[in-house]
Symmetry: C2
Subunit: 511 residues, 2 copies
């Protein structure tokens, strides 16, 4: 319908409206530009997000440490409960060992020492007295626990012997720290088990790995690749390490999700953990051991839930909606804060990662509906209040599934099988991880990292020195191997390597 003022030029109100629209468009553009700029600098963007979402705060007093705020602890506790339920069913019991490690125990396993010694925090003083023997804060508890495994495991009937603890560990890293991904102290669970045979130990390693994959895929909607670490990347002192590896689309980097190690008999020999062979009287067998850990690093995968806060003065209908949703198992936050515009509140909750925003105003009330908006797609719609108890949980399930599918597609499309060395660097620069035929030799692996590291002496077009780009490291040898590699025929892809390829190995820039 024609505006009454159309032939007399724009009216005052139309002008005002146009101005307002222009202003909003400009604001939107500025916001988009800022977001684009932030995404360019992924580390900065990431740190702002976890800070503004109130998941962490920086511990200014001591560098490399972070405070986990309620939004992060909620996620961690959800994961903890999920995992704890499942390992209890496997017969794993809970324990709590001291946080301090004696030097004598620590030094028993040579490779273990080499791996962890540089990052140990040493307590040398108590009150104003020097300790006669300094003690280290545990970086992991193999050397704390295994003297007692030797004492507690007396016969093969004590096997499998399985303990887990939820605790904090300290690794005083020199590298740049990043919230959740690399911090000098972190929370984790560490499981330590003992078995009669390699086969039984190996079976558990994979059962646990499947639980870790479940945490990512089922709880966090994050796809992972299951595989084995190369010798270079395995746990210090272990026999072999399995891993679930994730992928960050924004910068194409790989990221280790959690690891499940078979320690073999390395530690049981050093710590004298043995039982009489049930089949050969008088003969002793050193037990086969595993250890496996999942840390607060996992919280990275999820921002979809936030902290509940008690709210007073709820509008009666809002309270009914709240109750219907809560009863349906949905975690609800009702925001009735005064002094904030709806747009400010929308933005605030979006930042905190709430997956579904529900609005309820006078118009909705008149129609007996709630309005909603999905965070992942921006899609909007309405649902009858009478149906929210079933429809909203369904919608949340759909969002979860869509998030997973999107991430899975992205990871799949950015995991390239490459058989031509010249394609490796362009693939990395295009934010991919790569699977290449690989000889599995440790020195060759080191060399591949060097060959793919950008040289600092190169210059940019403007003539300024270019920062070296990160070389690729091995992420894992995927259990699911692509076709096309013929043992004894296919060459290792490293152009300097003369060996034949053993397996496809996944490499990438990584955390």
């Amino acid at each position: 319908m024609a505006d009454a003022g159309e032939s007399t030029g724009p009216s005052k109100s139309a002008l005002k409206k146009a101005e307002k629209q222009a202003k909003m468009a400009a604001e939107k553009a500025a916001k988009a530009a800022k977001q684009a700029a932030l995404l360019e600098d992924f580390p900065q963007w990431y740190q702002e997000v976890v800070l503004k979402a109130q998941m962490i705060d920086y511990y200014n007093e001591i560098s490399g440490f972070y405070i986990l705020r309620p939004a992060a602890m909620y996620v961690w506790n959800t994961i903890r409960r999920w995992f704890q339920e499942r390992i209890e069913l496997m017969g794993v019991e809970e324990t709590s060992f001291p946080m301090f490690l004696s030097q004598a125990s620590f030094e028993k396993e040579k490779d273990h020492v080499e791996g962890f010694a540089p990052e140990l925090a040493w307590v040398t003083k108590a009150g104003d007295k020097e300790l006669e023997v300094p003690v280290a804060v545990r970086p992991t508890s193999e050397a704390v626990m295994y003297p007692y495994y030797s004492k507690w495991i007396r016969t093969h009937r004590d096997l499998p012997f399985r303990l887990n603890q939820w605790n904090n560990v300290v690794r005083w890293e020199a590298k740049q720290t990043t919230p959740f991904l690399r911090s000098r102290e972190f929370l984790w669970q560490e499981g330590h088990t003992a078995h009669l045979t390699e086969e039984l130990a190996g079976k558990e390693v994979l059962e646990i790995l499947e639980l870790y994959a479940g945490v990512y895929e089922q709880l966090l909607a994050v796809p992972v690749v299951r595989g084995r670490k190369t010798e270079n990347e395995k746990f210090a002192g272990g026999y072999y390490t399995t891993t679930v590896e994730g992928y960050i689309p924004s910068n194409g980097r790989g990221i280790q999700g959690a690891t499940s190690h078979c320690l073999g008999q390395n530690f049981s020999k050093m710590f004298d953990i043995k039982v009489e062979d049930p089949e050969v009287k008088g003969q002793h067998i050193n037990v086969w051991q595993n250890s496996w850990g999942l840390s607060t690093r996992v919280i990275v995968g999820i921002t979809k839930n936030t902290t509940p806060e008690e709210r007073e003065n709820l509008d009666k209908r809002l309270e009914e909606i709240n109750q219907a949703l809560t009863k349906a198992g949905v975690r609800v936050e009702v925001d009735v804060r005064d002094g904030y515009t709806p747009a400010w509140k929308f933005n605030d909750w979006e930042l905190k990662g709430v997956p579904l925003r529900i609005e309820f105003g006078p118009k909705d009330s008149a129609k007996n509906v709630v309005s909603w908006a999905r965070r992942d797609t921006g899609e909007k719609g309405t649902t009858d209040i009478a149906e929210i108890g079933s429809k909203i949980p369904e919608l949340l399930e759909t969002i979860q599934q869509d998030l997973y599918n999107k991430a899975e597609k992205s990871f799949r499309e950015h995991r390239l099988n490459i058989t031509n060395w010249d394609e490796v660097l362009p693939a990395l620069d295009a934010k991919n991880v790569v699977l290449i035929p690989f000889c599995l030799d440790g020195k060759c692996e080191d060399r591949i990292k060097e060959l793919t590291t950008g040289k600092p002496e190169e210059t940019t077009e403007g003539g300024a020195p270019k920062a070296p780009t990160m070389g690729m490291k091995s992420l894992c040898i995927p259990f699911e191997q692509p076709e096309g590699l013929v043992k004894g025929e296919t060459d290792c892809l490293n152009p300097e390597c003369s060996r034949k390829a053993e397996q496809w190995c996944m490499f990438g820039r990584s955390y």
Copy 2:
């Protein structure tokens, strides 16, 4: 009915029976004598029990540290869940702060420093590098957390502000350590809250104290006295401390159960935690703070549950019984171990503290019953299998109630109101705690401790020097005050004190 062989003297089988009975009686007497001897030496008895029940193990590598084994962790986790559910309903959120404390933060509250400095463990080295600034392991987290309370609490609308964390702390005590009761590292929860007024803070202090009392009385069947700590015994840096105090009948000692502190404005002034007064624009109020903690010391109160272990090869009917009981919410252990006699098994589980033993043999099976024996009274009986789902939980409830009643009676009967100084020492020696009219003066309190400490120069009858007996310290000022104290008239009971009594105060030998 007369035995066929009665007139011809004892038969071979009767002789054998008598011999067996004599042997059993001798064993029983020896066992009783051993137990009596152990009870004489209560600390030794206690340490043997927690060790043999597989609740703890000694951490031989570093003195003063203990390993919490699954039986202990089960109890701790049960308490943790119970308490966590209840503080969540109060609106307390979970957080996780770093375990290290900077010297600068620590030194802000003078009394706090004095209280904790002698027990701080200092990290001075990382890897092989000296730290520029040493950091201490937290003994408690006031000084770790409050710089952030200053940052996060912006307006009175952020109040009440309530965070809790479940973690480990280190207090490098010089005193003799004892499993659970005093160890250099322990697990606990520490709640830290901020309020607008003293009244609101005080209300929460008591709500939390009531939850702590609930943990002891409802979960652990252990009676406690609720009260306030004297100035001498309150939390270092706090305003006032409330406490629940328990009692150990075997040696008549008091034992602190858990404390809920009002910190007043001491810390908020030092850490600059303030909000604008909602009633006087432009004027600022330092918030009123509380902190409250419950540690693994609480595990002492309970030995009635033990670790579940997966069991295979279960007899079919046993499995039905097991399922019926488990379904009824009873924690069941089925012991089908080969190579152990029933008597050995009975003893083993009794040691671990299982409150109700259920036996099921061929005779029981024929009668469709299970036989049971109560740990607390030794009473035995049978229950129809069809009814175990209801009768066994009832029986466990009765045991729980009887245990509480017995402990409550014992504590009540050993809490003497004393108004004659000469009766104090005999009362302590008879394993009582005492309530006496007291002036509340700190120096008087110190003197009371000295006056009740046995002098080492005294000798025993044989002439050997006698170990000094422990003096009594104040446990709390009970909220429930006995009658008979007239303010301004009744004297403080300390014979050297010329002040009037303010309140009845509970004193005792204590942990």
